[in-house]
Amino acid sequence: MAKSVSEINEKIKKGKAVVLTAEEMITYVKTNGTKKAAQEVDVVTTGTFGPMCSSGMIINIGHAKPRIKLSGTAYLNEVAAYCGLAAADIFLGCTSLPDDDPRNRVHPGRFLYGGGHVIQEFVAGRDIKLSATAYGTDCYPRKKLEGWINIKDVNEAVLFNPRNAYQNYNVAVNSSNKTIYTYFGMLKPKFGNAHFCSAGQLSPLLNDPVYRTIGIGTRIFLGGGIGYVAWPGTQHNPTAVRKPNNVPASGAGTLAVIGDLKQMGPKWLVGVSLQGYGVSLSVGIGVPIPILDEEMARYTAVEDKEIYAPVIDYSEAYPLMKPESVAEVSYAELKSGTIRIRGKKVPTASLSSYPRAMEIAGILKEWIQKKRFYLTEPVSSIPGPESGMKFKPLKIKTIQ
């Protein structure tokens, strides 16, 4: 017997909806089976919290007197922000750096401060120093602007992340003889460690592997507030190889998400420094999944031992775009603390915080139970495996 999203919302309204986290759903289905789960459970909440580089904020600072048309680059706490939009709009990407940051001039660079940190401070309510110059026009005569701005004073502050919530991801290792510094952290030589980055069984898109319920317009937990799925994320790759349970065995789907930054909090948007690589932003995302039928009950009961990821060599295969993987391991193996690669026991660690992901799934569950959050039907689907959509490498023509 199938349920609809509006029927589930009706139950939420009456305080009768049964909401479980994706972790609780595993146990529930083990005990009761998918048939009973489909009848009894209405919503499964998911969560993930990890560095997601394709993230940023758009702010409209309001018009100065006299007016200024921001152009080119403005600086927020010395971090470069993009002003190629209208006069008072600024976009700050989380990986942006101050112009005088030494980068990797002395390798590995420290990357102590950048866009991710500015976003975290801004959302925490701290004053941020804006400095900008302009060329001046008849209608926007001012040429210089400098001062402190605050999130409570700007017109809009919007978090807009073109690629978040990767469905699955690589496991990074280093086969070379020297230590390397990557977006996966410090990788020790000769398979000295293996780093992964996924909430596994709690992760949103791993619980809805072919995007049956998550689509454009889906209301979500974003950075501590309410956000929405805006679009499929950049590099969305629904045709990635899948296991018989439909769960992809590598990166696959992604989401573009958007939400009101003014509702969000610094616990869920954390600026991070990746030694030798750069700055990023750890983003907290939670997606509720309506249990429409037995298939959704089965999907949301997916366990770490049924989710596989490719082990990729970040000293060679990854930087040189070689399509090779060293091994395939499950998240259960990864979370056991060691995996086996070419006969060697390799210690594992995660860049994604499972305790925070659990907290997010729990908060979302509570919001729904307290009738503060209702589910949405997608306005439009995001491309699934049948779309044939593929993630392509760069195609570029040589300039003659």
């Binding site: 952290g185 660690a349 860049l351």
Partner: protein, 135 residues
């Protein structure tokens, strides 16, 4: 027997004194040097693992204090800023001393400060920079 990690700070006048020699000779303490440095103003910093009989350890520390060496446990100098740690756990493969470990049940990172050897590798490896060294 007692085995502890301590941080010693030497004023300028003591930099050339055979203090560690005396710890071994007079108090029969076993030592391992985890870190040693002299700052530009010649204040010495020494992180030591000390092992010996309880009484000898107490007397050794008394001797150090009397000489004018500032002594404090290592756990006061290497700390985790709890408001910054997100418990991602990426530090656990970086720490060579087993001082940063995952609790398998909660998947939270435990910082066992008595195992810390003050190598400071975790400091730049921590994405939110939650590990702090206050020597």
């Amino acid at each position: 027997m007692i085995s502890k990690r301590i941080v010693l700070k030497f004023p300028h006048r003591l930099v050339e004194q055979p203090i560690i020699y005396n710890l071994v000779k007079k108090y029969n303490l076993e030592f391992s040097i985890l870190k040693a440095s002299v700052t530009p103003r010649e204040e010495g910093l020494l992180v030591l693992g000390l092992k010996g009989r309880d009484r000898d350890f107490q007397k050794g520390v008394e001797y150090l204090t009397k000489m004018g060496v500032h002594v404090q446990p290592l756990s006061q100098d290497v700390i985790r800023n709890e408001s910054k740690c997100t418990h991602c756990g990426v530090c656990v493969t970086i720490c060579p001393a087993g001082a940063l470990v995952l609790d398998p049940a909660t998947r939270e990172v435990k910082f066992l400060s008595d195992k810390c050897i003050a190598c400071e590798l975790c400091v730049p490896a921590c994405p939110p920079r939650a590990m702090e060294v206050h020597f």
